[in-house]
Subunit: 568 residues, 2 copies
């Protein structure tokens, strides 16, 4: 992968360039950090012409490493005002690889209101009018694009949310079944794509690019050993494929950290009803699929295909965070309602996590009652229609919460936090607070780490190590679920060996982790230049003063400890 | 004035204390800066229990200095996230003085949803249930309170906006006619009062406190000379009393800096229709009043009482900023519509400036057309009713603009800027960018200062000097309109003499200006502690890249120059 394709929307030009040699060890999140730091003024308007949208595979995207097909998407976030990398499964990263594309960089902004689709083929990139596709949401849009361009296409697209500049909007990626079920979900990057007036990227052809290895045999051998460990791990080898990520529902509920009723409780009376176990049980009778792979190259298969009671497809990739935040956090016990919410979110192109927290603050405000599934669906309908209230909801949890007079708004740097109450899972709370991405769990989730999760002892170090490790995985383009095996350092060494066998040179654990430190340091620089300080690295006020029922825990990590978490 | 009254709303207690001697030279804005810096955690939730609401007269509030009756109101702003002082005329400051009150500090937050009114009399302060007043807007509310407590009361109150936590909400102060026409308007302090669940402060009695002078004769002599200068000044002595602040409409229009159609132009075709001259002409036929004093002690009389075509009262204090932002900036040429907007804003308790810019971005988004006065009134009706869209609008210009997908949002630190296009009035633009208050013109308006207003040369120094001088005036509690005479340093020396004669000690111009520097330095410290940096001291992006039609000017002050503006 040595080509960088620059699409300038100001003058509708496309320019292909060979990546400078200095980019060799930059991929995925690390490449985004470098491009944004070097090319985007940190103070720019995220929806203005100076921001850039970057799509790229990871450093191991052209190998056979396990779960190597993640697509990183980046830009300055209109939701958080920070740098943003959101990554997704689906088919797009692999297809970019086949075209030899190291990165796709969208620059500028059209002066006209005309929208485009971008068609990428073996040796061509074409900007075409999108007129007939405007106003479509992702399921219809991808159907229509397949009708026009054939079933073999891979699509990255936005729905009405990205068109309208919703700050909760996603970029949806088609999965191996052609459905737009995977999302670069966080931080409103769909609206950045919309600000460039691009409705969809469609890769119609496949190129012949094949990844090269410095030492192919060594790569394959280390890869074999690493993959074996991933499959032998009880979480990535058993729990996740059997029950999907929703396997966590019963676990976090038992721990008392499953956000319930807008983070008022940590246990949900009806957790069982929305658990992974229940989903597996139901789907077994409905012809649904557990053990679904969201991208080629995945060895874990934590995704699923969810059918309704009539056996009809509803959604794919019904995940723990979606269930935790739209289920328990909204007091909704009907898993079929949660599945519908997930489908609608993918269709409109909005972040399920931001959405769950937004519905939660609407319930907190008394707009609808906790547990009111029909009411929640009505709120989604408002976002779909773009009603006045829908426009407000599309701005995310902070704006919705403030507008409705809610004091308890579960956000960090403007972004909704995930489905782990940070008072009872301190390490994850530290990550929420300090990640350059804003409230984010994939940046370093401490669930399952050693020690009492509600005790602060040692958690700064745990969060730091996890944040570095996740930045490594996101730079390699490998799904973070392939890192549960990091508990044994020998496995990290295997991964370092793989990177060495791919690129050459001596690689050990510190050098591998250096990729993560480098990405984080660039991200933090971008954020500092954008005006953020350590004062932004905090949880919402109520986490510090309102005890988590059951355990009575508060978030008790001091600002000084938070400031020491990522000391670069 | 040596008493500080602390009202704790957590436990509904009132505590009177003697002000420490160290507070002697702190009043108005300076006192607020000190109290907030010392007592309020800068990172607190502005609508949470840790924030405090402070009301206080200025240092010369108990003298006969010209225009000494300003009331300073302060707290951490929910709109800007900064420290905030907003000051107003009206009757409240003088009545606080009569009770010997140096400051009224509201602390804590009730755990119940019950609202209160606070009744202040000679030696008593009482917290009473507000039940029968809830939901009332300011005109009805003050009528009812007068019915209950007598016509002689002075009232500081909130309307539905403050009750609902609107971030554009004001605290309205009754004027000498008993009408709630004066506003501590900026930064959403009404919602801070609402967060304490206080609907109104009512001062029922008058105390016997009389200000003391170190050297009464010297004070009176310097005061006589200073007042004579104020009255001899062509602006404060003639323009303002004759036409009100609206005298500026024709002036800024001629200069090409009258914001028109959401800052798209700097000249309004129908400026004449909304000018001070036209208002004076109309009101002469309608029994309206020009030369109205908004508070006792005012010698300028720039306020007015506006009647409609039938001679019926509509509003009082129809000001330039209100007219510029709700008139020209919205393309509305009907001054009677603007007067209605002003009345409704005072009634609901919302900032006319924030409102004008909010309507402007709604027009920019095509929600209603530029010039659509009926549409603008409908938007106000939505805020009054608290409809879903009204709740959004109540969050101010930034939230409304972002929700509606508008790129050109005229704000600094979340607060709408005033009715002077900063591209054509660089000194004021520098103040908008760098004032610790967010986009604000009263913090240092360079209109009328020496030099070409559109040229950047020397404007940093002009803004700095003005910001210091305005912080002095706001600390003394003297209307800033009594500072037009500062163009002659001899007059500043007279004011320094007055402060010396009041408090003793040697006072010269540098010492007097030290009061302003001290206030600004504390404010900047608070903001730094709240996480703000020099990166927040910028104008909106479009001011840097979109030329002001007519002059072709851009805002061309560099970040380095802005950072050098207030170097403390």
């Amino acid at each position: 992968m040595d080509k960088i394709l620059r699409i300038n929307m100001t003058d509708a030009t496309v320019r292909s360039q060979d990546a400078d040699k200095s980019y060799e060890l930059f991929g995925g999140r690390g490449l985004i950090a470098r491009i944004l730091t070097e090319e985007v003024p940190a103070l720019c308007d995220p929806l203005g012409p100076e921001n850039k949208l970057v799509l790229c595979p990871g450093l191991l995207g052209d190998t056979v490493a396990p779960c190597h097909g993640r697509l990183s998407v980046g830009g300055k976030s209109p939701l958080t005002g920070t740098i943003k990398e959101a990554n997704a499964g689906g088919t797009f990263a692999k297809r970019m690889v086949s075209l030899g594309l190291k990165a796709l960089i969208v620059e500028g902004q059209p002066s006209s209101k005309e929208w485009s689709i971008v068609i990428l083929d073996k040796d061509t990139a074409e900007i075409r009018p999108a007129k007939q596709y405007m106003g479509m949401n992702n399921y219809q849009l991808t159907d229509e694009l397949r009708t026009e361009f054939g079933n073999g296409v891979s699509i990255a697209s936005i729905g009405c949310a990205g068109e309208r500049g919703y700050r909760n909007s996603t970029i949806q990626i088609t999965d191996p079944n052609g459905r737009p079920s995977r999302a670069a979900a966080r931080g409103g990057l769909g609206s950045v794509m919309g600000s460039k007036r691009i409705k969809a990227f469609v890769i119609t052809g496949s190129g012949e690019y094949k990844g090269e290895y410095h030492d192919r045999a060594a790569f394959l051998e280390n890869n074999r050993l690493y993959t074996k460990e991933v499959l032998a791990n009880p979480i990535s080898g058993q729990g996740l494929p059997t029950f999907g990520t929703a396997v966590l529902v019963n676990m976090t509920n038992a721990m008392g950290i499953l956000p319930t009723n807008n983070f008022r409780q940590g246990q949900f009376e009806f957790a069982e009803d929305i658990s992974g176990e229940r989903i597996a049980e139901l789907q077994a009778t409905r012809n649904g699929v557990m053990k679904h792979a969201c991208h080629a190259g995945c060895v874990i298969h934590c995704s699923n295909i969810i059918n309704d009671a009539t056996g009809t497809y509803v959604t794919s990739g019904l995940e723990y965070e979606t269930i935790g935040l739209n289920g328990a956090n909204c007091g909704i016990r009907d898993i079929d309602v949660v599945a519908q919410i997930d489908r609608i979110c993918d269709d409109l192109g909005i972040d399920t996590m931001e959405t769950g927290c937004t519905i939660g603050v609407c319930m907190e405000a008394g707009k609808i009652a906790f547990g009111d599934g029909a009411g929640a669906l009505k709120l989604l309908q408002e976002m779909k229609e773009g009603s006045e209230f829908g426009l407000l909801l599309g701005q995310g949890t902070e704006v919705a919460g403030k507008s409705l007079g809610v004091a308890r708004i579960p956000i960090v740097k403007g972004q909704a936090i995930a489905a782990y109450d940070p008072r009872g899972l301190k390490g994850t709370g530290i990550t929420y607070a300090t990640s350059p991405m804003g409230g984010d769990h994939t940046a370093g989730n401490a669930l399952g780490m050693p020690g009492d999760p509600g005790d602060k002892e040692g958690k700064v170090e745990i969060s730091r190590n996890l944040q570095v490790a996740m930045a490594v995985m996101d730079s390699l383009g490998i799904c973070i679920f392939a890192s549960f095996v990091f508990e044994n350092p020998d496995n990290i060494a295997l991964l370092a060996n793989m990177v060495g066998a791919k690129f050459g040179g001596e690689w050990d654990i510190p050098k591998l982790m250096g990729l993560g430190v480098q990405a984080l340091a660039m991200e933090k620089k971008f954020n500092r230049d954008a005006g953020l300080t350590a004062k932004d690295d905090r949880l919402p006020e109520f986490m510090y003063r309102e005890e988590l029922p059951g355990s009575g825990l508060l978030f008790d990590i001091s600002d000084e400890e938070l400031a020491a978490t990522l000391p670069f």
